[in-house]
């Protein structure tokens, strides 16, 4: 049987043309379904990227620090604690850009008076509507590092 390349090519193109329209409708409908699928973000949780969320912050140390400050890496301090009362724990409310499921880095600086032995420092963050988390570090005299929450 003799081959006829041009009519065969035209026939294949015609088949593609006929199939294209319903295929496009199907794929568009698929996109619409995925957009309207239920959100995975936790209920009651703030969802906008970078939006500030009220956060309960608790700082505890085995020995009273003289000073402690919390900031976003490279930013100005969001909260500073001058511990004139020499207490070992403090609670505060601050706003932080937190998204459910996203990691948060916080720059933490703390100092203790001379002669304070190596001591534990625990930071607890409880954002409204999101599970809380605590991170504990050990330091002698001072601490200046990035702590990662919600890994």
């Amino acid at each position: 049987m003799k081959s006829r390349p041009i009519p065969e090519l035209l026939f294949i193109l015609l088949l593609f043309g006929v199939a294209w329209f319903p295929l496009k409708r199907l794929t568009d409908a698929g996109a619409a379904v995925s957009l309207s699928a239920p959100s995975l973000r936790p209920p009651d949780a703030p969802g906008d990227a970078g939006k500030s969320v009220p956060v309960f912050l608790r700082i505890k140390s085995a020995h009273a620090p003289e000073r402690c400050a919390v900031s976003l890496p490279g930013g100005e301090p969001l909260w500073t604690w001058d511990n004139t009362a020499a207490v070992t724990s403090i609670d505060a409310r601050i706003d932080l850009p937190i998204r459910p499921g996203a990691v948060l880095d916080l720059a933490v600086r703390a100092t203790w008076s001379g002669g304070t032995p190596e001591t534990a420092l625990t930071l607890t963050l409880e954002p409204d509507g999101i599970e809380g988390e605590s991170v504990t570090v050990w330091a002698r005299g001072s601490f200046d590092d990035i702590l990662t929450f919600f890994r």
């Binding site: 936790p42 209920p43 009651d44 949780a45 309960f56 609670d91 409880e126 409204d128 509507g129 999101i130 599970e131 809380g132």
Partner: protein, 297 residues
């Protein structure tokens, strides 16, 4: 006669000076306990649902609305527990506020297939509304309530904060006690088999897997196929005990336990409506933790 009148007069004067600074109404007994712990002497708490009630059937009556008409704030549990809340909100007096204590507490969404969380009405959104089964959640709630009371009554803000801090210290001790009490249960045996899915928050906090075997609402009977699958699962996973709930009919759970050859543990308080020593949040947690530890140890 004169003496009686003087005593009455003194009592009236004394009563006037003792009048609370903030009147609060609550829609759940655990919120009454919370409001008293945070508010102390500065609040008068009107509790609409008493201990031993059922939050799944409760709805304020017209008489209740009269009782709370001069309350400044009404504390609701939130997370869809009070399905009548929109109707209540529409009936508030000017200046009254509704505060959903559980609104900012992280929710647990329960997969709802044949299962109901606790009743059909509360299964619609898929959220477990029993957030007060977690000690951490109650610690958060105390802070939120202290903030709310301080906003409404700034003159006593320091007292509300101090009360919330004292309550927080007690709850931290309660968590420590619960951790130690449950520590004897091996991690692999930490399966909490209950009638309904009311213990998600407790299970998350203490590392249990929640298995709500009864599944269906309190009013309906589970299907034979569902029962058979549940019994097979209990046998396969070598579950050690199943726990009925204080206000639920234990009949179906008892028959499941009998078929599966599993013992029945003490009844748990699922809806926070315990009585006597278990009427408070701390009492409820102590009751539930002790019951679970005694059956699974």
């Amino acid at each position: 006669m004169k003496k009686s009148l003087s005593v009455l007069l003194i009592l009236l004067c004394f009563g006037a000076t003792l009048r609370a600074d903030l009147k609060v109404a609550t829609l759940h007994p655990l919120l009454t306990d919370l409001a008293r712990n945070v508010g102390g002497d500065h609040v008068e708490v009107v509790s609409l649902m008493k201990s031993g009630g059922d939050p799944h059937d409760f709805e304020p009556s017209p008489g209740d609305l009269v009782r709370i008409r001069d309350a400044r704030v009404i504390l609701a549990s939130g997370k869809g527990l009070e399905i009548y809340l929109p109707r209540l909100a529409a009936n508030l007096s000017p200046g009254q506020e509704l505060f959903e204590v559980g609104k900012k507490i992280p929710s647990i969404r329960v997969e709802v297939g044949e299962l109901f969380i606790c009743c059909p009405a509360h299964s619609r959104g898929g959220l477990d509304p029993h957030w007060w089964q977690g000690i951490g959640n109650m610690r958060r709630a105390a802070r939120y309530v202290a903030e709310e009371f301080s906003r409404l009554d700034p003159g006593n803000a320091a007292a509300y904060r101090a009360n919330a801090a004292a309550f927080d210290t007690r709850l931290a001790a309660l968590k420590s006690w619960a951790d130690k009490t449950l520590a004897a249960i091996p991690r692999g045996d930490r399966e909490l088999v209950t009638g309904h899915a009311a213990f998600s928050y407790f299970c998350r906090e203490f590392g249990f897997r929640s298995i709500p075997v009864q599944g269906l609402s309190r009013e309906r009977e589970p299907s034979p196929a569902y029962l058979a699958e549940t019994i097979r699962q209990l046998r396969q996973e070598k579950v050690r005990a199943v726990f009925p709930e204080q206000v639920a009919n234990p009949k179906v759970l008892a028959s499941i336990a009998s078929e599966a050859g599993v013992k029945i543990g003490p009844a748990l308080i699922a809806d926070g409506t315990g009585q006597g020593d278990a009427a408070t949040f701390e009492g409820m947690i102590r009751h539930n933790v002790s019951a679970i530890a005694s059956a699974l140890n």
